[in-house]
C-alpha cells in the first residue's frame, strides 16, 4: 500500500500532498516537513530508498523518491510495495505530467494542483496502484477534460476567455524551472535474463 504521495520543492514547500490514511492537517504538515528533512539531506548519488520518518510509521514504511530539478516526488509505501515498481511509477507520473502540461515545470504544479490530483487519481487509487501504462492514463485524463469542456459548453466560453486573459501574465514569471532531465534511468538488468 502507498501511504502518502508528496511533492515538494527544494525548499520544502508542498506542491501536492495526498495521504491515503487520515492525519490531522497539523500532522500532515509535520510529516511533509519531516520527509523533506530526511530526503533533502541525502546526496545526489545515493540510492532512492530510505526508511520512513517517525511520524509516518518509522521503519515499517519506506520512502521512495526521485529528485527532478526543483521538485522532490516522494512516495511513502509499506513493505508490500516493490521498490523498483514505485520508482518506475514515479517516472511514469512525471512523464505523464510532462505530456499533459507540455514540458511540465514547477509552476504548472503550483497553479494546477487539481489537475495533478486528477492525473494521479488515474494512477493510484486509495493507496493502491491502479494503472502504470502512460498512454492509458493520458487517454482517461483527456476523456475527463473533454467531458468538462462539453459540460461548460456555451456557458464556459466567457469564463475561458477571462481566464486566458488572466493567464497572460503568467509568462512574465520565470518559466525556466523546467523539471529537467527526465530521461528514464530504469536500471538495465541484463543479468536477470
Amino acid at each position: 500500500m502507498i501511504k502518502a504521495i508528496l511533492i515538494f520543492n527544494n525548499h520544502g514547500k508542498p506542491r501536492l500532498s495526498k495521504f491515503y490514511e487520515h492525519y490531522t492537517e497539523d500532522t500532515e504538515q509535520q510529516i511533509i516537513r519531516e520527509t523533506f528533512h530526511l530526503v533533502s539531506k541525502r546526496d545526489e548519488n545515493v540510492c532512492n530508498f530510505l526508511e520512513g520518518g517517525l511520524l509516518i510509521g518509522g521503519s515499517e514504511n519506506k520512502l521512495i523518491y526521485r529528485h527532478y530539478a526543483t521538485l522532490y516526488f516522494v512516495f511513502c509505501v509499506d513493505s508490500s510495495e516493490s521498490e523498483l515498481g514505485i520508482l518506475d511509477l514515479i517516472q511514469v507520473f512525471v512523464e505523464t505530467l510532462d505530456k499533459c502540461f507540455e514540458n511540465v515545470c514547477e509552476l504548472d504544479l503550483i497553479f494546477h494542483m487539481d489537475k495533478v490530483h486528477n492525473i494521479l487519481a488515474e494512477m493510484v487509487m486509495g493507496g493502491m496502484v491502479l494503472e502504470t501504462n502512460m498512454s492509458e492514463i493520458i487517454t482517461q485524463a483527456e476523456a475527463h477534460n473533454k467531458m468538462e469542456k462539453s459540460e461548460a459548453g456555451i456557458a464556459g466560453a466567457p469564463a475561458r476567455a477571462v481566464s486566458a486573459v488572466k493567464n497572460m501574465n503568467l509568462p512574465e514569471m520565470p518559466k525556466n524551472i523546467n523539471i529537467g532531465d527526465i530521461s528514464i534511468k530504469v536500471p538495465n538488468l541484463p543479468s536477470f535474463k
Binding site: V46, N48, S82, E83, M113, M128, T132, E148, I154, P187
Partner: protein
C-alpha cells in the same frame, strides 16, 4: 434560460478561481496568513450562494488551502453539496475535496451514502470512476457495509476501466467491513483469475550469485535492491546467503545509510553459532568508526538484537557476551543505556553459570562509575549502573571483595545519578552489607563487620537528604536498621543470620504472558456482574441515594474479604506444597559454588590494565580475547573429535560415522559453558494459546477469515432493500427477550453484529436529525431521481442491513433464502434441504414424544426443535432467456391502502441489461403508484442496470382499495439487451398476483386480548381440513407464520392459536390442531370473504408440499 446561464457565468468569471488564489498567495509573501484568512472569508461567502458553480470553485480553493495545512472540515457539508452536483466537472471537484479531508470522524459522511450509490450506478462511467476513486480514500465501515453489494455489482461492469477500480476498492471494503470478504470472495477470485495484462510476474527466485553482482554494482539502487532480495532469500535458503557474509559486511562501510541499514538487517538473519562472534566483532569495529549517534545507536541495538535473538540461541559463550555488553557501555551519548542494562540483568539472572563472572565485571563497572556518569540524560549510559548495582547486590555471594564494592556504591558522587538508580544503589548496599556481615561471622575479631556498619552510618545520611522520595525512604529505613545492628554488634550479638534473611529467596523471571495464561478456575464467570449493574435509567435526582448504596456495597465487600483471608492462607499452603513437589519450579539453591567447567576459562587474565586506550574501562577483558579463545577451543575440540573418530574407525564399530570433512554444522559446536538458561516462569496449567503473537492493531487481522467455509445466509451482503419501515411492535421486543437459547447458539460474531446494530440505530437517529437539518438538500437529491421519490421512506432503511429479523419478528429464526445470486448454490441448498427433510421424517416419531409437554410457546419460539428448512416468499413472476423476475408482496403498516411489491431481477444472459422499464395495467381496485406528474400509463424506470449474472431488487408501491378478494394485474417489463456487437429491445409480460395473504401483516397479539376478541362475537367463523400433512407441527406453524404473515398467540401440545391483521384492520384468528397427519383449522374473521380466500391460500400452500 440560456441567457440566464451566460449571465450567471459572467458574474462568476470575476470571482477568484484557484489560479487567482495561488497567484494572490504568491504576491503576498509578507502577510500570507492574513491574505489567506481574507480569502477564506470570501470562500465562506461564495459557499452561501446558490450557484453550484460558485460553490464548486470555492471548494476547489479550499482543497488547495487544505494542502497548505488549513483545516477545512467546516465546509464538509458544502463538499457534499458539490459532490451531488449532476455535472461531472463539479462532482469531481467535490469528490477530490472529500478524498482530501473526509475521514471516519466526519459526520456528514453518512449523508453521502445514497449519493455515492447513485454515482456508482450512474450510466456515465466517469461518474462511477470518480465515485470509486473518492470512496477509496474515505470509505468507512458503514459505507463499506452499505455499498459492498453495489461495488460487487461493478466488478462485472462492461467497462474494464470500472471493473479494475471496483476490484481494487474491494480490498478497502474488506478492511473496513471484513464480513463482506466471504460472500464476495468467489467473484473476486474469478476476477483475479481473469487474464490481467496489468500485472507482470515478478521473478521470484533469483540466483544469489546474480544478486552478488547487483550488490557489487556501482548503482546504489541496485545495491539496495540486491540486499533487499538477499534478505528475502535468506528466509528460505539461509545457507546460500551466509556464504556472502564478506560482501554484506563490506556494505556496512557504504556511505549511504539506507544501504548500511539493509546490510545490518541481513546480518541479523545470517548469524549462526559459528559466526556470531566474528560478525559481532566486525560490528563492534563499526561502532567505533561510526559517525553520528543515530547510526551508532542503530548498530548498538542491532548487536544486541543479533545476540539475544531467539532466546540467546546463537551464544555459545556468555562471558564473551557480558564482555561485549560492558564494552558497549563505552559508547558516548547513546540513548540505549536502558537496553544494555536490561540485557545485563537478563543474562545474569537467567544464566546461572555466568553469575560469578558477571558480578566481577559489574563490580569493576561500579568501581569505574565515574567514567560513565558524564552522561546523566535519561536512558543515557548510566542506566547500566542500575543493572550493575542490582547484580552486585543480588548475587553478592559471588563477590570477591564485597567491602570494596560497597564502598564504591556509597561514594558521594552517586548522589548525582538519577533517582531510580540511587534507590537501587541504596537497597543493594544493604544486601552487600548483609553479605559482609555473614562473611565475618564467626571471626573472633569483629572489627571488619563493625567498620562496615560505620561506613554505612557515615555515608547513608547523604541519601536520606535526597529529593527523590524513593531514595530518601529507603535510605532512612536502612540507616535506622544499620544503627540498630551496630548496637547489637557492640553487644557481640550475632546478627548476620537475621540480616541475611531480609534478602533471602531467589527471584525468577516471569514470562511476559504468564498473567494472561493463568487458567480461569472452573465456575468463575469473569463477565458476570459482581454487583447489580447500575441501571441506565438512573436520573440525576437519584444521585444522593447513591451514597447510601455505595456504603452498603462496601460493607458487603469487607465481609467477603474476611472469609477470603482464611481461604487465602489455606491456598497459600497448598501452593507451597505444590511448588515443593513441582520439579519445574526453580527453588532457591545454595548457588555459591561456581560452575566453570569449560577448559580454558581459567586462563583468562581477569585483570588487564590497558592505560593506552583511555576510553576502555580498565580491568576489563576485551571480547576479542574470547574470540581467539573460542577459535582455539573449537579447533581443539575438532581435533579431539577427529581423534575419537579415528579411534572409532579403528575399533570398527557397527555404526560408522562419516568423516566430517565439510564445513562444520551447527550442532557440532558445543557451548563453552554448560549453561542452563532459566526459562521464564509460567503459571501452572497455563493454557497454550496461538494468538499471542498476533498484533491486535494489525488492520489485516480482521481479514483472517476462513474462505472455504460455505456461506451462511446471515453472511450475505446487505442488498439494498426497499422494505417499508416497520414500526417496532411490542412483540419484537418481546421476541428478542424471549429467545435466550437462540442467542446462545449464535456465534460471537453475530453477537457483535447485534451490538453494531444498536450502535447503528443510534447513528441512524443521529443521521435522521441531520437529515432534517439539511432537508432542502436531501430533497434536491431526491428530485433528481424520480424513481427514488416513491421510496423516500425506504431510502432511510437502505442504510441498515436488511436482515429479515428487522423486518418481521416471526422470521428472524428462520433462515430466509434471499435473492439467489448463484443459481448453482441455490440448487445445492435445495438438495440439502431435501436430504434434511428425509432425515427429519426418520426422526419424526421420536421427535413427537419429545415435544409432548406442557410447554406453551409464544410467537414461534420453537427453540428446542429441529431447525426449519429455508423458506422463501418470493415466487416466480416471469422468466425468459434474458431475465428472471421473482416477487413478494408486503402490506404497509402505516398506510391501509398500500402494498409494496419487491421484485428481484436476475440477469441470466451474458449481456448487459439496461433501461429496464416496469409497467402494469392498472385496475379500478389496484394501481401502481407513479411519481407526480406522470401519466396513468407511464412506466417506471428500474433504478439500476444489470451486468451479466447479477441480480438486484427493486420495489414498487401499489395502492389498493378493497382487499377482500385476490387480484391479478397484467404488466410488462421492457429492457435493452446490450452485448458487444449489438443491442436489442426486449420485453417480458407478467402477471402480478395479489393474494389476500399479501394484505395481511404479522401482528403480535397477547393471549388475553385474543380471548377478548374471540368472545366479542363480531367474528364469523369458517374452517378447513388438511389431510396427509407429513411435517412436524412446529414446521407447520412456521410455514403459516412465514407464508401467511400470522403470529402464534399460544401453543399447547399439538394445538395452537394464531393471529394476523390485514392492512385495513381486519382481525384473522386461527385455531390449528393436528393429529395423525390431519390438520384442522378453525378460523374466525370479521370479513368472511377475506377469511375464505386466506384459507384457500393456506390450503394451496400445503398442497404444494
Amino acid at each position: 434560460m440560456a441567457l440566464k446561464i451566460v449571465k450567471g457565468s459572467i458574474d462568476r468569471m470575476f470571482d477568484k478561481n484557484l489560479q487567482d488564489l495561488v497567484r494572490g498567495i504568491r504576491n503576498h509573501k509578507e502577510d500570507e496568513a492574513k491574505y489567506i484568512s481574507t480569502c477564506i472569508d470570501e470562500i465562506k461567502q461564495e459557499l452561501k450562494q446558490d450557484n453550484i458553480a460558485v460553490k464548486a470553485n470555492a471548494v476547489c480553493k479550499l482543497t488547495y488551502l487544505q494542502m497548505l495545512g488549513y483545516d477545512v472540515s467546516w465546509a464538509a457539508f458544502n463538499i457534499v453539496e458539490v459532490m451531488s452536483s449532476s455535472k461531472f466537472t463539479y462532482k469531481r471537484i467535490g469528490y477530490l475535496a472529500a478524498s482530501q479531508c473526509f475521514h471516519e470522524g466526519t459526520d456528514v459522511i453518512m449523508l453521502t451514502t445514497n449519493q455515492i450509490r447513485k454515482d456508482l450506478s450512474s450510466p456515465h462511467q466517469y461518474d462511477t470512476g470518480v465515485a470509486l476513486t473518492g470512496l477509496s480514500c474515505f470509505v468507512t465501515p458503514d459505507l463499506a457495509r452499505d455499498l459492498a453489494n453495489d461495488i460487487m455489482t461493478l466488478m462485472s461492469h462492461t467497462k474494464p476501466y470500472i471493473r479494475k477500480k471496483a476490484v481494487l476498492i474491494m480490498y478497502k471494503v474488506f478492511l473496513k467491513y471484513p464480513e463482506s470478504l466471504r460472500p464476495a470472495f468467489p467473484r473476486l477470485k474469478e476476477k483475479l483469475e481473469d487474464p490481467d495484462p496489468g500485472t507482470d510476474a515478478e521473478p521470484h527466485l533469483l540466483c544469489v550469485q546474480k544478486l552478488r553482482i547487483l550488490i557489487e554494482d556501482s548503482d546504489q539502487n541496485l545495491k539496495y535492491l540486491g540486499l533487499l532480495a538477499m534478505s528475502k532469500i535468506l528466509k528460505t535458503h539461509p545457507k546460500s546467503v551466509q556464504s556472502h557474509k564478506d560482501l554484506i559486511l563490506q556494505c556496512l562501510d557504504d556511505k549511504d545509510e539506507s544501504i548500511r541499514l539493509r546490510a545490518l538487517d541481513l546480518l541479523y538473519g545470517m548469524v549462526s553459532k559459528k559466526n556470531l562472534m566474528e560478525i559481532v566483532k566486525k560490528l563492534m569495529l563499526h561502532v567505533d568508526k561510526a559517525e553520528g549517534t543515530t547510526y551508532r545507536d542503530e548498530l548498538l541495538t542491532k548487536i544486541i538484537d543479533i545476540c539475544s535473538q531467539s532466546n540467546y540461541q546463537y551464544i555459545t559463550n556468555f562471558e564473551w557476551y557480558i564482555s561485549i555488553l560492558v564494552e558497549l557501555t563505552r559508547l558516548e551519548g547513546t540513548r540505549h543505556g536502558h537496553l544494555i542494562a536490561s540485557q545485563m540483568l537478563d543474562v545474569a539472572i537467567r544464566v546461572k553459570a555466568i553469575r560469578g563472572f558477571a558480578v566481577a565485571q559489574m563490580a569493576t563497572l561500579l568501581d569505574n562509575a565515574h567514567l560513565l556518569t558524564g552522561n546523566t540524560q535519561r536512558n543515557g549510559i548510566c542506566e547500566v549502573l542500575y543493572a550493575a548495582a542490582w547484580i552486585c547486590g543480588e548475587f553478592s555471594e559471588h563477590l570477591e571483595d564485597p567491602m570494596q564494592t560497597l564502598e564504591a556504591m556509597l561514594r558521594p558522587k552517586v548522589a548525582t545519578l538519577p533517582g531510580h538508580i540511587q534507590a537501587v544503589y541504596v537497597q543493594n548496599a544493604a544486601k552487600l552489607f548483609a553479605t559482609v556481615l555473614r562473611k565475618h561471622e564467626g571471626e573472633t575479631d569483629s572489627q571488619a563487620a563493625q567498620e562496615t556498619s560505620q561506613l554505612l552510618i557515615d555515608r547513608l545520611p547523604l541519601f536520606v537528604q535526597s529529593a527523590n522520595l524513593e531514595v530518601q525512604e529507603r535510605a532512612s529505613c536502612i540507616l535506622q536498621l544499620v544503627k540498630y545492628i551496630q548496637k547489637l554488634q557492640q553487644k557481640n550479638v550475632e546478627v548476620a543470620e537475621e540480616v541475611t534473611a531480609l534478602f533471602a529467596g531467589e527471584l525468577n523471571p516471569v514470562a511476559p504472558k504468564a498473567q494472561k495464561k493463568v487458567p480461569i478456575p472452573e465456575g468463575l464467570d469473569l463477565d458476570a456482574w459482581i454487583n447489580e449493574p447500575p441501571s441506565e435509567s438512573e436520573s440525576e435526582d437519584e444521585k444522593p441515594k447513591a451514597v447510601f448504596t455505595k456504603e452498603e456495597h462496601k460493607h458487603s465487600r469487607s465481609r467477603h474479604t474476611e472469609v477470603d483471608e482464611k481461604e487465602l492462607a489455606r491456598r497459600r499452603e497448598v501452593r507451597k506444597q505444590e511448588q515443593a513437589n513441582n520439579p519445574f519450579y526453580i527453588k532457591a539453591s545454595p548457588s555459591s559454588q561456581k560452575v566453570y567447567d569449560a577448559p580454558g576459562v581459567e586462563h583468562i587474565p581477569v585483570v588487564q590494565i590497558d592505560l593506552s586506550v583511555p576510553l576502555k574501562v580498565p580491568g576489563m577483558p576485551t571480547s576479542d580475547q574470547y574470540l581467539k579463545l573460542e577459535e582455539e577451543r573449537q579447533q581443539k575440540e575438532k581435533a579431539e573429535r577427529k581423534k575419537k573418530e579415528k579411534k572409532k574407525k579403528r575399533e570398527k564399530r557397527g555404526k560408522e560415522r562419516k568423516a566430517d570433512s565439510g564445513p562444520e554444522s551447527e550442532e557440532d559446536i558445543r557451548p563453552a559453558h554448560q549453561v542452563d538458561i532459566v526459562t521464564e516462569e509460567m503459571p501452572e496449567n497455563a493454557l497454550p494459546s496461538d494468538d499471542d503473537d498476533k498484533d491486535p492493531n494489525d488492520p489485516h487481522k480482521a481479514l483472517d477469515i476462513d474462505l472455504d467455509k460455505p456461506l451462511a445466509d446471515s453472511e450475505k451482503l446487505p442488498v439494498r432493500t426497499h422494505r417499508p419501515e416497520v414500526l417496532k411492535s411490542p412483540a419484537e421486543d418481546r421476541v428478542n427477550e424471549s429467545i435466550p437459547q437462540e442467542t446462545k447458539k449464535r456465534s460471537g460474531k453475530e453477537k457483535k453484529e447485534k451490538k453494531k446494530g444498536k450502535e447503528k440505530d443510534r447513528k441512524r437517529s443521529k443521521e435522521e436529525k441531520k437529515k432534517k437539518k439539511h432537508k432542502e438538500v436531501e430533497e434536491e437529491l431526491l428530485e433528481s431521481q424520480p424513481e427514488e421519490a416513491i421510496q423516500s421512506e425506504e431510502t432511510k432503511e437502505a442504510t441498515a442491513p436488511p436482515t429479515s429479523a428487522e423486518i418481521k419478528p416471526t422470521v428472524c429464526w428462520f433462515p430466509v433464502q434471499k435473492s439467489s445470486k448463484h443459481k448453482k448454490k441455490k440448487q445445492k441448498k435445495e438438495k440439502e434441504e431435501k436430504e434434511k427433510k428425509k432425515k427429519k421424517r426418520h426422526h419424526h416419531h421420536h421427535h413427537h414424544s419429545d415435544a409432548g409437554g406442557e410447554d406453551s410457546v409464544q410467537n414461534g419460539t420453537v427453540e428446542e426443535e429441529e431447525p426449519l428448512p429455508p423458506m422463501s416468499n418470493y415466487s416466480l413472476l416471469a422468466e425468459n432467456s434474458y431475465i428472471k423476475m421473482v416477487y413478494d408482496i408486503q402490506g404497509n403498516h402505516q398506510d391501509e391502502s398500500k402494498v409494496v411489491v419487491s421484485v428481484i431481477f436476475e440477469n441470466k444472459s451474458d449481456s448487459f441489461l439496461k433501461s429496464m422499464e416496469f409497467n402494469v395495467l392498472d385496475s379500478l381496485n389496484s394501481k401502481l403508484q407513479r411519481p407526480e406528474g406522470a401519466g396513468p400509463h407511464d412506466s417506471l424506470t428500474v433504478p439500476f442496470q444489470l451486468p451479466p449474472g447479477v441480480s438486484n431488487e427493486a420495489r414498487f408501491v401499489f395502492s389498493v382499495q378493497s382487499i377482500v378478494m385476490p387480484q391479478k394485474l397484467k404488466g410488462t417489463l421492457t429492457f435493452i439487451v446490450k452485448s458487444d456487437e449489438s443491442s436489442t429491445h426486449e420485453k417480458l409480460d407478467f402477471k402480478l398476483h395479489f393474494t389476500c395473504t399479501s394484505y395481511l401483516i404479522t401482528t403480535p397479539c397477547y393471549s388475553d386480548a385474543y380471548a377478548k376478541l374471540l368472545e366479542s362475537g363480531d367474528l364469523k367463523g369458517s374452517s378447513l381440513r388438511l389431510e396427509g400433512i407429513n411435517m412436524p407441527f412446529h414446521h407447520l406453524l412456521a410455514r403459516i407464520c412465514f407464508h401467511h404473515h400470522f403470529s402464534v398467540v399460544e401453543r399447547i401440545d399439538s394445538c395452537a392459536s394464531m393471529y394476523s391483521r390485514s392492512i385495513q384492520g381486519h382481525h384473522v384468528c386461527l385455531l390449528v390442531k393436528t393429529s395423525d397427519q390431519t390438520v384442522s383449522i378453525d378460523a374466525k374473521c370479521d370479513e368472511p370473504s377475506l377469511l375464505g380466500n386466506v384459507l384457500d391460500e393456506i390450503k394451496q400452500t400445503f398442497s404444494k408440499c
